[in-house]
């Protein structure tokens, strides 16, 4: 018979090896000849390793979903992209930021729309220089912006194919489509921004495609397409530098 009563909390601490919170020596001694205490101990016994293993079988989906790094240093993405678990991180760590900005909607839709593009979607668009200028004038006016074919010449590695006006929640969304030398569709999407401060260029992945996102002079930009992060980053930087 034990001399003192041990609480369930003390017995639990003993089982957990938390001896700062359990009179371990007394419990150990009492267990040697106290069947009632042994029974209480048994009633508290669980297999911690089995519990841990059962829970550890649960895993988040590792499928990458549209991600967006708002106002984060670009090097964050670059660093993460070098590790195998980047997909887990891209799982949506920054989706909250998208929600905060309210930009996620149009970017996600634009990315999903562009994901449907193939080389054939754009290959047949062949226009004269005058036709391109006319189309750009008409389309860019919808967002109050002026863009010329000459201005797009900074995108030296991709060829302009067409421009069209889309709409997201009643707001005009400009989509300029390009094809790379290897036939990869690339889109530059522009819409008016509520963020007057602007946001630095950030590389990320949306719909599994290399993407660059930034805000400048009252407009939000998304450049997206293919898997070549370096190409998209270089093109985006050229656009930022020239103020396109």
């Amino acid at each position: 018979m034990q001399d003192r009563y041990f609480s369930d909390e003390e017995l639990t601490a003993y089982l957990d090896g938390e001896f700062d919170f359990a009179p371990a020596a007394q419990i150990r001694l009492a267990l040697q000849n106290d069947p009632a205490l042994q029974a209480r101990m048994e009633a508290l016994t669980v297999d911690r390793s089995a519990l841990r293993e059962a829970v550890e079988e649960l895993a988040p989906d590792t499928i990458s979903i549209p991600a967006f790094v708002r106002a984060r240093p670009r090097r964050l993405f670059v660093a993460l992209s070098t590790v195998a678990v980047a997909a887990v991180f891209a799982l949506g760590v920054f989706v909250g930021a998208l929600r905060d900005t309210g930009l996620n909607g149009w970017m996600e839709y634009a990315a999903a729309y562009h994901a449907l593009y193939s080389t054939e979607t754009l290959a047949h668009f062949e226009q004269s220089r005058a036709g391109k200028d006319l189309e750009l004038d008409r389309v860019t006016a919808s967002v109050g912006k002026s863009l010329s074919v000459d201005a797009l010449s900074v995108l030296s590695d991709i060829a302009y194919r067409r421009a069209q006006v889309l709409s997201f929640e009643g707001q005009a969304l400009l989509q300029l489509s390009f094809l790379s030398d290897t036939g990869i569709p690339i889109a530059l999407c522009i819409t008016r921004s509520s963020d007057t401060d602007g946001q630095p260029l950030v590389m990320t992945r949306m719909e599994g495609m290399a993407s660059a996102v930034w805000s400048l002079d009252g407009y939000d930009y998304l450049l997206i397409g293919g898997q070549d992060d370096a190409l998209i980053e270089r093109l985006a930087e050229a656009l930022v530098e020239t103020g396109v």
């Binding site: 016994t45 669980v46 297999d47 519990l51 841990r52 649960l58 895993a59 991180f89 760590v93 909250g96």
Partner: protein, 180 residues
């Protein structure tokens, strides 16, 4: 000249988050009982950690810091939305969160164990997850959960009683491997 550890920046925090993301997500899943909510809660916690990266003390542990963030987010969300009240119980069915797979015996056992944890009252479940699954000490659990150590102990004692009772009817498999 004294060496001072470099203050971690968002990149450091981000790299650390990559490592602990699955653990955070599992805890979020145990809290919410929903994959979708676990996704959102974990994302919110990671974002909060990045936003507050300058507040992180590099002499402490990132995982404990973010576990505390995710716990606080969940608790404040519960208060705000006043959901899942009533004895603090969240009804979670393991079949909703575990992909169907081969019905091997050991897998059935795992699922029963998982269900036993999920069936715990929320306060007990939180303590059991933090101490028994994540392996934190009582002191660390007290910090993460924001409760006194005595409360951690009483929740764990209750959790042990419930878990042992639920698993008591099982054939001795788990007990046979039990060391504590």
């Amino acid at each position: 000249m004294l060496f001072r550890p470099r203050k971690p920046d968002a990149r450091d925090i981000g790299e650390g988050l990559v490592q602990i993301f699955p653990r955070l997500w599992r805890y979020a899943l145990a809290l919410s009982g929903s994959r979708a909510e676990a996704d959102e809660l974990t994302q919110s916690a990671c974002l909060r950690a990045l936003e507050r990266s300058t507040q992180f003390d590099p002499s402490t542990s990132l995982d404990k810091w973010v576990f505390r963030i995710i716990h606080n987010l969940w608790m404040s969300d519960r208060r705000r939305h006043k959901v899942r009240m009533g004895q603090g119980l969240v009804s979670i069915d393991v079949v909703d969160i575990v992909d169907p797979g081969p019905s091997a015996d050991h897998q059935m056992e795992r699922r029963e164990l998982l269900q036993a944890i999920l069936d715990l009252p929320e306060a007990q479940r939180q303590a059991a997850m933090i101490v028994y699954v994540e392996g934190y000490s009582y002191r660390e659990a007290s910090m993460i959960l924001g409760i006194p150590i005595g409360t951690v102990m009483s929740r764990l004692a209750a959790a042990r009683t419930n878990l042992a009772r639920q698993m008591g009817g099982r054939k001795g498999g788990h007990r046979a491997r039990s060391v504590l």
